[in-house]
Symmetry: C2
């Protein structure tokens, strides 16, 4: 018997991730016209406070260039502010503007609702599911 794509985990994982991302992207696209990388940068900033491009790049699984360009767009849109680091002048410090924080408050609520929706779809196994994802994302 030949290979079964439908049972293949990398494939199923890709399809599920793409579908879920799309669903959620529609929400914040409607709310603020954000792309996926922009959303991730904002979300990370909301949690971590001021942080460099490098930090985000490492924590958020986005290429440096993607973070850099997303940050520039977000800056001109007024959601975040760039400033130089005190002692290390190579670093650029990113932080939310008040508008950015207000936006993230709204998006955070939307995200929480969406998360609840997903958990409902997953049923009681949601916890174990999330743990399994961590294991897969763990080490490359």
């Amino acid at each position: 018997m030949s290979f079964d794509l439908d049972g293949f985990l990398p494939y199923r994982l890709s399809v599920a991730a793409a579908r879920v991302s799309r669903r959620f992207a529609a929400l914040y696209e409607a709310e603020a016209g954000l792309t996926i990388p922009e959303w991730r940068v904002l979300a990370h900033l909301a949690r971590s406070g001021s942080v460099s491009v490098r930090d985000i790049h490492e924590r958020v699984a986005l290429d440096k260039s993607v973070v850099s360009r997303a940050a520039s767009r977000l800056e001109t849109a007024g959601w975040l502010r760039k400033s130089g680091h005190e002692t290390d002048r190579r670093l650029i410090v990113l932080e939310l503007t008040p508008e950015g924080e207000a936006l993230m408050a709204r998006l955070g609520a939307i995200a929480a609702r969406f998360q609840a929706e997903l958990c409902a779809e997953l049923g009681p196994g949601a916890e174990a599911f999330a743990a399994a994802l961590s294991r897969l994302a763990g080490e490359g």
Copy 2:
């Protein structure tokens, strides 16, 4: 407290999927220089026999244009053959060449090994994990 990206399912799903896809892509890239869409088209063909671009597009979560271009590359590489449909001349029938089947036999074995590796990493919850993925991929 502000939003926690790390606990957010769509994010974790994306990261895990990207990481797993990358790991596996390295394998078939080394074996045959395939891209992800090319791999998916071949894998689907191996299972379904001769099939149209439209079929693959629907079953495999790839844009029509992506399937079309992947099929063209695979044809010039000699892994598959295009031919016209008997009665409906709009359709293009794709099927593996003998070389393509031989390739998929090798890749199928590699994929099975990789799947086993993943299941080992997931432990006993692998079954439930796969079921959860189906639920998420189910309906948009």
